[in-house]
C-alpha cells in the first residue's frame, strides 16, 4: 500500500490533494512540454545547418524559436525541479504530511495545464513571433501573430508558479516536524525557500507587464508606445524585473538537488552548510537588483549601467561559493559514481562555464560586443541546460527509487549521462565562438563563414536529443522491470529516505522527530546498528 496504489482511477488523480501525486502529474506534463520544446529546438538546429533560410521561411523560424523559448522557460524549466521534486520531497524532508495548502497545490497544476493549453492553442493557430522577451513596440504594434494568447498563457502559468512558491514558503515556515530547526533543514529545502521568495515577489510584476502589454495591443493605451509619449524601455524594466530573478528560480532548485546528491554519494555532510544555505538566500535577495544588465545597450542611463553591472558582480559571488563548497564536500569523502553523481559533476563543470560567461556579460564593456549574439545563447544554455537540466536529471535519478519503488538500470543510465555531456558540449560550446565572431541570435539566415561551427552545433544537438530520449525509455521500462529499490538504496540521511518507498499517502506512519543535524551520516550508522541489535 502506498500513495500510488491507495486509490485508483483517473479521478482519484485529477482531484488529488496529495503532494506526491500532484508532483507526478507535473512530472508527466513538464516532460511532455520538454519534448515539444526539444522538437522545436531540433527544428532550429536543422534550419541553421545551412546559411540560407531554406528549411522554413524566416517568419516560421521566428515562430519556432519564440515557441521554443516560451515553452522551455515557462512550461518546462521554471516548474521543472520545484513542481516535481520540490513538491514531492519538501514535505517529506520536513517531516510533514503534505504541503500546507494541498488544494492550492492542485490549483497550481490546473493553472499550469491551462497555460500549457493556451500555448498549444497559440501554436496551432499560427504561433507567435516576438521572441520570448516580447519586446515592445514590436509585440504591441508590429506583429500580427498571437501575442495575446501567449501573454495570457504566461500570465496564467505565472500564477501557477506564484502559488507553488507561496505554498513552499508557508510549508517551510509552518509545517516543520518537531526538532526540525532552520539549520537542520536539507539544503534542498533552503534552495527552494530562496527560489520561492523570487516566485512570490517577482512573478506579479511580469503579470502586470503582460496585462499592460495586452492593453497596449488591444486598445493602444500608450504606456509603452513612443508615438504617444510612452517609453518602450519601461516594458523591459518590468519584464526583466521578473525575468532576471526567474533565472535564479530556474537554477536555485537545481543547486538544491546538487547539494543532496553530492553529499549522499560522497557520504559526507556538505562542506560549510551555513554558507551554502545563506548563499541561496543571498542569490535570491541580490537577484532582485540586477535586472537591467539585460538592457545595457538599449538606451538606459550610463549611470544605471554602472550600478547594475556592479550588483551583477556581487550576485555572481554566492554561486562561486557554492561551487567551491561542493568541491570541498568531496574532500576526504567516500565517493561513488552512480548516475546522479555523474550528472552532478556535469553540472559543476558546465555551470561554472555558464556562470563565468555570465560574468562576461555582466561586465558592461564586454557586453557591448557579446550581447545579442550566440554568446548569450551559449551562456544561457550552459546554465539552463548544462546547469538546471543536468540537475533535474540528477534529481530524477536520485529520487526515482523513492518515487516509484524501483531502481533505474545503472549502467545504461550512466552511459546516457555521458552521452548527454558530450552532446551538450558539442552543441553549445561552438556557440561561444560564434558569438565572439559576432553571429547575431534569432537569425534564420547567417553569413556562410559561420556554417562550420553551426554544423557542429547541429550534430551535437542530435546526440543530445538521444541523450534525453534514453532516460525516458529506461525510466519507463524500470517502472515494471526495475529492481525493487528498498527504503534507502543510497543510504542517504534525509527524512524522505527514512520511510517506505514509495511512501504512504501520509508520508510517515508516525510523526517524525528530527533529533540530529542534516547530513548526519554517523546518526544513520547508529540507526543501522541499533536496528541490527534490536532485530537480533
Amino acid at each position: 500500500m502506498n500513495y500510488l496504489t491507495k486509490e485508483n482511477g483517473l479521478l482519484s488523480w485529477l482531484l488529488t490533494g496529495d503532494h506526491k501525486r500532484i508532483a507526478i502529474l507535473y512530472l508527466i506534463s513538464i516532460t511532455f512540454f520538454f519534448f515539444i520544446g526539444g522538437a522545436l529546438a531540433g527544428l532550429i538546429r536543422l534550419e541553421l545547418l545551412t546559411p540560407q533560410s531554406d528549411l522554413m521561411a524566416t517568419d516560421t523560424y521566428n515562430k519556432v524559436f519564440t515557441m521554443h523559448g516560451v515553452i522551455m522557460i515557462f512550461l518546462f524549466l521554471v516548474p521543472s525541479v520545484p513542481a516535481t521534486l520540490g513538491n514531492f520531497f519538501i514535505p517529506m524532508m520536513l517531516g510533514a504530511k503534505d504541503l500546507a495548502l494541498p488544494r492550492i497545490n492542485l490549483l497550481s497544476w490546473y493553472l499550469y495545464v491551462l497555460g500549457g493549453i493556451l500555448v498549444i492553442y497559440t501554436m496551432v493557430s499560427g504561433g507567435v513571433d516576438t521572441g520570448w522577451t516580447f519586446t515592445t513596440p514590436l509585440s504591441t504594434h508590429y506583429v500580427n501573430t498571437n501575442v495575446l494568447s501567449t501573454g495570457m498563457a504566461v500570465f496564467i502559468a505565472g500564477f501557477s508558479s506564484i502559488f507553488t512558491g507561496l505554498n513552499f514558503i508557508v510549508t517551510i515556515h509552518k509545517m516543520r516536524a518537531p526538532g526540525m530547526t532552520w539549520f537542520r533543514m536539507p539544503l534542498f529545502v533552503w534552495a527552494h525557500y530562496a527560489a520561492s521568495i523570487l516566485m512570490v515577489l517577482g512573478t506579479p510584476v511580469l503579470a502586470i507587464a503582460v496585462v499592460l502589454l495586452a492593453l497596449e495591443r488591444t486598445i493602444g493605451i500608450g504606456v509603452f508606445d513612443p508615438v504617444k509619449g510612452g517609453d518602450p524601455l519601461l516594458f523591459q524594466h518590468l519584464f526583466w524585473f521578473y525575468s532576471h530573478p526567474a533565472v535564479y528560480i530556474m537554477i536555485l532548485p537545481g543547486m538544491g538537488v546538487i547539494s543532496e546528491v553530492i553529499s549522499t554519494f560522497s557520504r559526507k555532510r556538505v562542506f560549510g552548510y551555513t554558507a551554502v544555505a545563506f548563499s541561496s538566500v543571498a542569490i535570491a535577495v541580490f537577484g532582485f537588483f540586477v535586472w537591467a544588465h539585460h538592457m545595457f545597450i538599449m538606451g538606459i542611463s550610463n549611470y544605471a549601467v554602472l550600478v547594475f553591472s556592479l550588483l551583477t558582480m556581487l550576485v555572481a559571488v554566492p554561486s562561486a561559493i557554492k561551487i567551491f563548497n561542493w568541491t570541498f564536500t568531496l574532500y576526504k569523502g567516500s565517493i561513488t559514481f552512480e548516475t546522479p553523481m555523474l550528472y552532478a559533476f556535469g553540472f559543476m563543470g558546465l555551470f561554472t562555464i555558464g556562470g563565468m560567461t555570465g560574468v562576461f556579460l555582466g561586465t558592461s564593456g564586454t557586453d557591448i560586443h557579446l550581447t545579442e549574439t550566440y554568446f548569450i545563447v551559449a551562456h544561457f544554455h550552459f546554465v539552463m541546460v548544462g546547469g538546471m537540466l543536468m540537475a533535474f536529471l540528477a534529481g530524477i535519478h536520485f529520487w526515482w527509487p523513492k518515487m516509484t519503488g524501483r531502481m533505474y538500470p545503472e549502467k545504461i543510465s550512466q552511459m546516457a549521462a555521458v552521452v548527454t555531456f558530450i552532446g551538450f558540449n558539442l552543441t553549445f560550446f561552438p556557440q561561444f565562438i560564434l558569438g565572439t565572431l559576432g553571429m547575431p541570435r534569432r537569425y534564420a539566415a547567417y553569413p556562410p563563414e559561420f556554417q562550420i561551427l553551426n554544423v557542429f552545433s547541429t550534430a551535437g544537438a542530435t546526440i543530445l536529443g538521444v541523450g534525453y530520449l534514453l532516460p525516458v525509455l529506461y525510466l519507463v521500462w524500470s517502472l515494471k522491470y526495475g529492481e525493487i529499490a528498498g527504503d534507502n538504496p543510497w543510504q542517504a540521511t534525509g527524512l524522505e529516505w527514512q520511510t517506505q518507498s514509495p511512501p504512504l499517502t501520509e508520508n510517515f506512519t508516525e510523526l517524525p522527530i528530527m533529533d540530529h543535524e542534516a547530513y548526519d551520516y554517523e546518526w544513520l550508522e547508529n540507526q543501522k546498528t541499533k536496528e541490527v541489535a534490536s532485530a537480533g
Partner: protein, 102 residues
C-alpha cells in the same frame, strides 16, 4: 513548529477600530484640504506622507500587524522592501538619464 509560529492571537476591540476610523477620516479630510493650497514641491510629498500615514494605520490596526507575530511583520517588511527596490531602481535609470547625453 518553531518559535515564530506561536499564535499570539489578540482580539482587537471596537474601541480601537473606532479611533482608527476617525483618524482615517481626518487623514482624508487633511489630504484633500492640503491639495487645495499651494505648497510647491511639498504638495506631492504631503499627499504621499498622509497616504502613507493612513496606510500604516490600516496595516497596523485593521490588519492587526501590530499584534501579530514577528514573521508577519517580517513579511510586510519584505513586501515594502521589494516594492521600493522595484520603484527606486527603475527610477534610478529614469532620473540619471537626464544627467548625460545618453
Amino acid at each position: 513548529m518553531s518559535e515564530e509560529t506561536k499564535h499570539t492571537h489578540q482580539i482587537v476591540g471596537p474601541k480601537v477600530y473606532v479611533i482608527i476610523l476617525f483618524a482615517l477620516l481626518i487623514g482624508t479630510a487633511l489630504t484633500v484640504w492640503a491639495s487645495f493650497i499651494e505648497l510647491g514641491p511639498w504638495n506631492p510629498v504631503i499627499a504621499l506622507a498622509i497616504a502613507t500615514g493612513k496606510a500604516v494605520l490600516v496595516v497596523l490596526f485593521f490588519m492587526q500587524v501590530k499584534y501579530s507575530s514577528k514573521l508577519t511583520k517580517l513579511t510586510v517588511g519584505a513586501g515594502i522592501f521589494t516594492l521600493l527596490a522595484l520603484i527606486s531602481m527603475t527610477l534610478s535609470d529614469y532620473i540619471s538619464r537626464a544627467w548625460g547625453r545618453w
